[in-house]
Symmetry: C2
Subunit: 303 residues, 2 copies
């Protein structure tokens, strides 16, 4: 019901990073794609199969050094239900290898509808006498533009099934300022959102000092990371924007508290495409080398 | 690239309503479920098959009198990829019957990720030499908490494939006020959002006076409907909250302009469950009677 399972994995691997699984066909080695196309043709099913093989190879390459993966739903929905099928398979594969899975789907809707999202992504769905866990992620990213009653059903599911959510506060894109930075009585919209998250999180207390409603806050805004870290000591941060989006170890250091805790940093493209930049290493070693470089860059800056 | 196709259907059917397809197993007649379970068991696949049969029966019942359907993605994701498979099948079925399809998925993310959502829901995805339209909806609901650069990829796809989007402005749930009603220099967040939508919509001009970026604004807030209708004459409104959520014809009248145009009103549960309230009519006639009651209630209030 909190981020304790994730924090425990971060501690044991001494690595506060998460691998984004946002696959595109052009990121995938030709031989993986050809195997998939040979079986299913140039179809959505063939493409989805290539995505799955790619994800499995990435997970195999780093599962002993990176604690978590974060598949981005959009890159699977682009391939229709076949893409969603391999998203579910990717989540199951990562969990079977002991990794924590954050489904980056940024869902948000009114209460009765959010219940259905919560069941599908984190909880269970009943079909008469039988119970299923459709996607089975450990955490879900959420958009709370709709307010508290859009979050409460998620919190109920988190309590029941030991899951957690990350709510969008300050995103890493250039125009995030348009709405999120608007000042209201001296407080920005993103700070107002973070304060709501801190309050919602009280219902999901964790034993390591962080509650089960975290926030997404981009690595591209270090001063805002620092501000929120100081104001909300129990908020756990998911920090995208490392690597290909421009952030480095120094930029994300302020996401962590004095104990070097409180955040997990995501990199997607720099890990997924590492094999293209260092072909001499081979696929697995190239990903692994980049994963270790990222880990060391972050650790060096938070010590 | 605008709502012209939808507006044209609303005109020819003289009915500014959309049927929400937000199915739950308890809404489905026992005999439809039993047929599905007999083929696939009490599985996610069996449940998904029941959802599809239910949707097809609803569409068959009203396709000559209601111009559009709005499937809510959450109620399909609750059944995993099997649910998404029948969502795609439902969209294809509604389109084959001449209906306009609004995918209510409330997607929102940073630019490069929104591109993938746009391709999957409205546009096309390429797999080497082949091109596919994965979900093939006509319009998509969108959450623009991330700002302009999260909307631009959608607008590009709308221009290319003659599609449109509805952006969340003021939602129908009780706690929508927490963020959406905050006042900034005398302007609410939802009005700020509506103003951004009006600006974005200029890139998608329609011939009937409305642009291709509409807004979602709940029927539960009539005074706010009135305010936005007056301030933004070219914004097309999607108005949820009719029927089971409490709104009636009088509550939604202010969504329409002096010509009785500019909005489409959604009802989900009151249509989906009409057969339970009027069992003597039989499934199709019960849905149809409720659809006509809703149409007449709205038309009577906007004349």
């Amino acid at each position: 019901m909190s981020f304790d399972r994730l924090i425990s994995l971060i501690r044991s691997k001494e690595n506060p990073t998460v691998m984004g699984l946002d696959p595109k066909l052009e990121y995938i080695p030709a031989e993986m794609k050809e195997t998939a196309y040979a079986a299913y043709g140039h179809t959505l099913e063939g493409a989805a199969e290539a995505l799955l093989r790619f994800n499995q190879a990435l997970i195999d390459a780093v599962r002993d050094i990176i604690p978590a993966v974060k598949p981005q739903a959009a890159f699977y929905e682009a391939f229709g239900w076949q893409g969603l099928r391999v998203l579910a398979a990717t989540i199951a594969y990562a969990k079977s290898k002991g990794m924590y899975v954050i489904a980056d789907a940024k869902r948000g809707d009114i209460g009765s509808t959010v219940e259905a999202y919560a069941d599908g992504w984190l909880g269970v769905t009943e079909v008469e006498s039988e119970t299923y866990s459709p996607f089975g992620a450990d955490a879900l990213t959420v958009n709370a533009y709709l307010g508290s009653d859009s979050i409460e059903p998620l919190i109920r599911v988190c309590r029941t099934f030991d899951k957690a959510v990350f709510v969008l506060a300050k995103t890493s894109n250039p125009s995030s300022a348009e709405l999120q930075d608007i000042q209201i009585n001296g407080k920005s919209v993103y700070e107002t959102m973070a304060a709501m998250c801190a309050r919602w999180g009280e219902a999901l207390p964790g034993q390591y000092g962080f509650d089960g409603v975290g926030v997404v806050i981009g690595a591209t805004y270090p001063s805002q990371l620092r501000e929120l870290r100081q104001k909300f000591p129990r908020l756990f941060f998911l920090v995208p924007g490392f690597g290909a989006q421009g952030g480095g170890g120094a930029d994300v250091a302020d996401a962590f508290d004095a104990n070097g805790a409180g955040a997990i940093v995501n990199a997607s493209r720099s890990l997924m495409c590492a094999w293209q930049k260092a072909p001499e290493l081979g696929f697995a070693e190239a990903v692994r080398a980049e994963a270790l470089r990222m880990k060391n860059d972050i650790i060096a800056n938070i010590k």
